[in-house]
């Protein structure tokens, strides 16, 4: 049977993390499931967790007045959902909607923030890993903005 600790330890996002830290993280982790069409979180809500997606797809959406929601990106198996728990004001900036049934590991951001404050080595590890995710998503968004397939 797969334990939470093993799933976390084997997840690429936590590759190379000392077992002491994966133990700490496991203390903040729980299983989560979302039915298709339900929202994992909504813009403006408190951001107190993040998710390791184990299966299914989640769409990140943004709303503009008098327009349908715009789907900015989708995240799938093996990907990380959510970093607003890490930075003040700890509020979600987008909606996240399960496009299909989603299984995930939820990590309690409040719990993790406390542990990161108490242990700066852990805090630095988390920041480094999330900074890499942010950099990848920023670059993907820049490329998306170029609208490279449009007729010139």
């Amino acid at each position: 049977m797969e334990t939470l600790e093993r799933i976390i330890a084997e997840h690429p996002f936590f590759a190379g993390l000392e077992s002491y830290y994966t133990n700490l993280l496991t203390g903040c982790a729980s299983n989560a499931r979302f039915d298709a069409g339900t929202y994992v979180f909504k813009e403006g809500e408190e951001a107190n967790e993040f998710y390791l997606i184990r299966s299914g797809h989640v769409a990140l959406e943004i709303f503009a007045p008098q327009r349908k929601p715009v789907m900015l990106a989708t995240l799938g198996e093996g990907e990380i959902l959510g970093w607003s728990w890490l930075l003040p004001p700890y509020q979600w900036r987008f909606h996240a909607r399960a496009v299909e049934p989603v299984r995930a590991i939820a990590l309690d951001g409040k719990c993790l923030r406390t542990k990161c404050e108490q242990n700066h080595d852990l805090g630095y590890e988390m920041l480094k890993r999330f900074a890499q995710i942010m950099e990848q998503r920023l670059e993907a968004t820049r490329l998306q903005l170029l609208d490279v397939y449009a007729v010139r």
Binding site: M71, A73, G78, A140, V148, Y149, V151
Partner: protein, 283 residues
């Protein structure tokens, strides 16, 4: 590896008239034109990745990659985005009307080098067209190749080419097809994001893989860089380049790109040859 026109005349500058067999609308602005390839004419033996010069009589000549099946010797297929007068006239040809064909020209994808290896095909937009012959080649000779992974990015769901074939390819043995769009409507159930975001879902062995990419140049620049990070060596990454091809045989110089003529030395190049040029401003 340049292959000159195989037309009966042996004159690479002389177009051969070929009659239109079929025109299929792929998307709102993209069409696949299939031409009859009479024996001995129309350069009907091509390597995946090569292109032809298509004459629309009275309008002009266009370089168009061959998008059909190399095993179908009696026809030549071209997928054309209709964006100007020449392309509009070309895709507006009726069945039985003539189109002038020169070629095939240029280098092909190194499919022989890919034998025994995993093959990663990465296409953006209409860039899937020059890669489709590679996919046919691998699927017709499945035992010669390892896994086939096809990553395809388009602007929106309605811009996806060859939708039925994508579904059929995904059902083939040892074949993974991942599709993404830059802008997905709420009814779209697939991936949203640029094609490079699909890399993390790819299942193959980078050290024994060859990658073939075709799409807008900036997309290929990002793709090639990420492929290297993924573990595929520069010399095993191949890109299809596009410039203003005119004569198609390296005489006129219109398609010069650094020290290369795209029509003659390309359009397929390995990334290790292209990398210094791709990063030059305004080249």
């Amino acid at each position: 590896m340049m292959m000159m026109a195989t037309a009966a005349t042996n004159d690479p500058m002389l177009p051969q008239p070929c009659s239109v067999r079929q025109v299929v609308q792929e998307t709102s602005d993209t069409f696949t034109l299939t031409l009859e390839a009479p024996s001995g004419g129309c350069g009907n033996q091509f390597q995946p990745g090569q292109f032809s010069m298509l004459w629309v009589f009275g309008v002009g000549e266009l370089p168009i990659s061959i998008s059909g099946d190399p095993a179908e010797r009696d026809r030549l297929a071209y997928t054309v985005r209709s964006v100007g007068q020449a392309t509009q006239t070309l895709v507006g040809r009726e069945v039985g009307e003539a189109v002038g064909v020169r070629g095939p020209f240029g280098t092909g994808w190194p499919v022989e080098q890919a034998q025994g290896r995993d093959v990663l095909v990465i296409a953006g937009g209409i860039g899937l067209a020059p890669l489709r012959p590679v996919i046919y080649e691998v699927l017709h000779n499945r035992e010669k190749y390892g896994r086939l992974v096809i990553l395809y990015g388009a602007r929106s769901p309605r811009d996806l080419l060859y939708r039925k074939e994508l579904t059929a390819w995904a059902r083939q043995h040892e074949t993974q097809v991942l599709v993404t769009v830059d802008y997905g409507g709420l009814s779209w159930r697939g991936n949203v994001g640029v094609v490079t975001t699909l890399f993390k879902h790819v299942r193959l062995q980078p050290a024994r893989s060859l990658a073939f990419a075709c799409g807008p140049e900036i997309m290929m620049r990002f793709v090639a860089r990420d492929l290297e990070t993924y573990g595929i060596a520069r010399e095993r990454i191949y890109l299809s380049m596009e410039r203003n091809m005119k004569c198609a045989v390296g005489f006129c110089g219109h398609c010069q790109y650094g020290p290369h003529f795209i029509c003659k030395d390309g359009p397929i190049f390995s990334y290790d040859r292209l990398r210094p040029l791709l990063e030059k401003y305004e080249l």
